[in-house]
């Protein structure tokens, strides 16, 4: 019943070659399952320079080995799980001269389908014995469906985000929606990272609730090597400024605009605040213009693309982290912030708010309230202290091991 399982995980990205939370979550989950004595074979669509001692990595597309150092970072962009198919196409056009034409297919659609073909071929050539297939998000679903037919094993669809979350209300891409729906229907069971995503899967994809189990993500304490990158912020702190941080993609879904409007209101009460926006995205230019138009640019800093070390350094100096997402299937970054002793304000429209009690919660559109909360944390040390201490205590309890135990239950339920 509770014996360890042999799992073929089908993923799209894996740290350190990841563009967002998906890769981090997959790794945390795979490691926790491996620590519980499950055998995890983790498939990726192409060769990436990764070494991992806990799981067996499987790269079905051998041709990618030809691609050298510089090109990889571009490929990583192309393989960004958050990219839209139309944008993928234009991006590929711009960079076709430096890409290996043998490797990069024409569209993201073909790329996604090729993954299934290549993975099936790989498994035919080098069979592996597995009990269950576990695939992450729509990019992997065509591959999972193909492999399911080949191996005749049940397939678990793990939903980290749906097309409705990614498009932020701008209209779902029909092809992506179709792949998601097909994957959900072909799966033996569905895991969603929050109740929020579960509701979407029920309401938008017509999946019966009993086929879905909510398993919240665990927290990963990301080890950083250099936390001194942003030590210049000390100058501001010495002058009595507090630092309030946003970190994430600059897209509609992330609600960065609300962060800016809340900042404007907070600054009217207390001008001694520096707001930092870390990250890049399609709304970056709009947000920079908005900050200028509101006349608060001297209180704003934009870091652009940030690394793990950048993030650690920013958190070292921040008094507060804000995640004002319009729709956030889970939202792992607040947990990272709390781990680094930074209290958080999170939108109620986030999966993480379902499990994180020691946080300030707010509707993303309520910029008055966000400003009120920002100022309360900055002005009242007892609030900062209790949020920090209770938050850290709670986050220690939000582990991948607990999630892995629930995943094991799901495996058992379909085998």
């Amino acid at each position: 019943m509770s014996s360890p399982k042999r799992v073929l995980m089908i993923g799209w990205e894996y740290p350190p070659h990841h563009s967002g939370g998906l890769g981090v979550a997959c790794q945390g989950m795979a490691h926790a399952l491996a620590d519980r004595q499950h055998y995890v074979c983790f498939a990726l669509p192409k060769k990436m320079p990764i070494s991992d001692t806990k799981v067996t990595l499987l790269y079905p597309n051998k041709k990618s080995g030809k691609v050298g150092g510089k090109e990889i970072s571009i490929l990583r962009e192309l393989y960004n799980p958050y990219i839209e198919p139309s944008r993928y196409h234009s991006f590929r056009e711009q960079s076709k001269d430096i890409l290996d034409p043998m490797f990069v297919p024409g569209t993201l659609k073909e790329c996604v389908e090729l993954y299934g073909v290549e993975l099936s071929r790989e498994l035919l050539e080098n069979p592996i014995d597995v009990d269950i297939i576990h695939a992450h998000d729509w990019l992997c679903f065509p591959a999972a469906v193909a492999v399911k037919k080949l191996l005749q094993k049940p397939f678990i669809a793990h939903i980290h985000a749906t097309e409705f979350d990614r498009s932020g209300g701008q209209g779902a891409n029909p092809y992506v929606y179709q792949q998601e729906k097909l994957g959900m229907e072909e799966s033996a069971h569905i895991i969603t990272v929050s109740e929020l995503v579960k509701r979407t899967v029920i309401n938008k994809y017509g999946i019966p609730p009993e086929k879905i189990t909510v398993i919240h993500n665990g927290n990963t304490d990301l080890a950083s090597k250099n936390e001194s990158i942003f030590d210049n912020l000390i100058t501001f702190k010495e002058k009595g400024y507090s630092i309030v941080l946003y970190a994430g993609r600059i897209t509609l879904q992330k609600g960065v605009e609300y962060f800016v409007h809340a900042a404007k209101k907070a600054l009217e009460v207390n001008p001694k605040i520096i707001f930092i926006i870390a990250g890049t995205g399609d709304m970056e230019r709009y947000i920079i213009e908005l900050v200028n138009n509101l006349g608060i640019s001297s209180n704003f800093m934009f870091t652009g693309y940030y690394t793990l070390d950048d993030m650690a350094s920013l958190l070292k100096h921040a008094s507060l982290f804000v995640m004002p997402s319009v729709s956030e299937p889970f939202g792992i970054v607040p947990l990272e912030a709390i781990t680094k002793d930074v209290p958080v304000i999170i939108s109620k429209q986030s999966g993480v708010s379902e499990i994180l009690h020691h946080a300030l919660k707010v509707d993303f559109w309520d910029t008055d309230k966000i400003a009120n909360q920002i100022l309360a944390v900055i002005h009242h040390p007892p609030l900062h202290k209790v949020l920090r201490e209770e938050g850290r205590r709670q986050v220690q309890d939000i582990t991948w091991d607990k999630a892995a135990s629930k995943i094991h239950h799901v495996y058992n339920s379909v085998l």
């Binding site: 300030l360 309360a376 009242h380």
Partner: protein, 398 residues
């Protein structure tokens, strides 16, 4: 042989609205949340009147009419009485009807349901005096037995109560304090001459107050026969059974559909079946029985939680700093001689405000224990602290 002292305690605070930093210096009304908000005091009051006070008082009046020996004890905070006068005079009248029977005793307490005894004796005495006045005005009686907020008791409180001429004082009958002794006798606090100490029999009290509708409990379903048999088992080793609980036990903590009102209605008849059982007021209990021993509580004991301490009110830094700040400004607030300002300051002293800031249930993951009109302890703290900041501005302290 034993007499039963039934004591129902009730109180309603003035909840602070979602008072934001932008309101500071502009809006001096802290307690006027719009209707429909969970912090709207009138909404909450009317709901509790309808669900609990009115049906409970109807049953109690019926019992007092039917059984000429039936007696009980109640207490009502000043902040509740004020709100009843304003928003539900018909409910206030049912409380007055109870008192008019002469068989319902009102206990003394602080007007603002505060923990002021442990922070400022001057302020505490002022609030007890205010409570005495409103009780005299509305019920024409003077309390003779004292009951502190949340039964937060300590030896020096008893010494104070004796000096203030109370016959008795009530507290939790907590095992670590009592040791081998039973709560079913009257005791004396240390360093006092006459005052009596009445201790809550928390097992029997909580059978009704907390466990009545708990289907997982071995005593469920709790019938009047069963409960009376438990009371009768104490015969020969008890003089008083002190059943102390919240008024809201009836209709709010235990909903009407659990059968709690029928239980209350039939309990006296069942207890009277044994001719040795009787009901007494707390004053009569103090007069009738000799103190059997001296019981000392050098540290604060309350009737709350498994810890029976003040940790739900003073456990975290937000709570401690809020209380500290409130009482730090006491003198300056009083110096303003501004009645409205002083009243607002006192309304902020109501213990509920710091209770709403309690994080311990959140830490246990036991969020359902968090009874609060706020979304989190943090929201409660933010509203409170912003209001307090405005109050300080008004008093010229900032």
């Amino acid at each position: 042989m034993p007499s039963i002292a039934l004591y129902l305690k009730t109180h309603q605070p003035y909840r602070i609205k979602d008072y934001r930093v932008f309101d500071i210096g502009k809006d001096h009304h802290y307690f006027n949340a719009p209707h429909g908000h969970r912090t709207n005091n009138e909404d909450v009051l009317k709901k509790i009147c309808e669900k609990s006070y009115l049906p409970t008082n109807a049953v109690l009046l019926e019992l007092l009419e039917r059984y000429p020996d039936f007696k009980l004890n109640i207490s009502l905070s000043g902040t509740l009485l004020e709100q009843l006068e304003e928003h539900s005079p018909e409910t206030l009248k049912t409380f007055q009807d109870l008192i008019k029977t002469g068989r319902v005793e009102i206990l003394g307490e602080t007007y603002y349901h505060s923990l002021s005894f442990y922070y400022s004796l001057t302020e505490f005495e002022a609030q007890v005096e205010m409570h005495k006045k409103i009780i005299k005005r509305l019920f024409n009686v003077t309390p003779k037995v004292f009951s502190n907020t949340e039964l937060a008791y300590r030896d020096d409180l008893a010494a104070w109560a004796e000096k203030a001429k109370y016959k008795g004082i009530i507290a939790e009958g907590w095992d670590p304090v009592l040791g081998w002794r039973s709560p079913n006798f009257v005791y004396a606090p240390p360093n006092t001459k006459k005052i009596k100490l009445l201790l809550k029999n928390y097992r029997l009290s909580d059978d009704i107050a907390f466990r009545f509708s708990n289907k997982g409990w071995s005593g469920w379903p709790l019938t009047t026969e069963k409960f009376a048999s438990w009371v009768n088992q104490t015969h020969g080793n008890a003089e008083t059974i002190n059943l102390f609980m919240d008024y809201e036990t009836f209709g709010e903590h235990q909903w009407a559909d659990t059968g709690i009102f029928d239980f209350l209605k039939h309990l006296p008849r069942e207890l009277y079946k044994h001719k040795d059982n009787s009901f007494l007021t707390v004053s009569e209990t103090c007069e009738r029985y000799e103190a059997r021993d001296v019981v000392s509580m050098p540290n604060i004991v309350t009737w709350a939680d498994t810890e029976r301490d003040l940790s739900a009110w003073t456990g975290n830094t937000m709570q401690q700093s809020s209380l500290h700040e409130l009482y730090r400004i006491e003198e300056k607030i009083r110096d303003t001689k501004d009645k409205k300002l002083i009243d607002d300051w006192r309304k902020l002293q109501t213990s509920d405000h710091v209770y709403y800031m309690c994080t311990k249930w959140f830490s246990d993951g036991d969020v359902h224990k968090y009874f609060s009109p706020y979304e989190s302890p943090y929201e409660a703290y933010i509203a409170f602290t912003n209001a307090l900041t405005d109050l300080k501005l008004r008093a010229g302290i900032l």
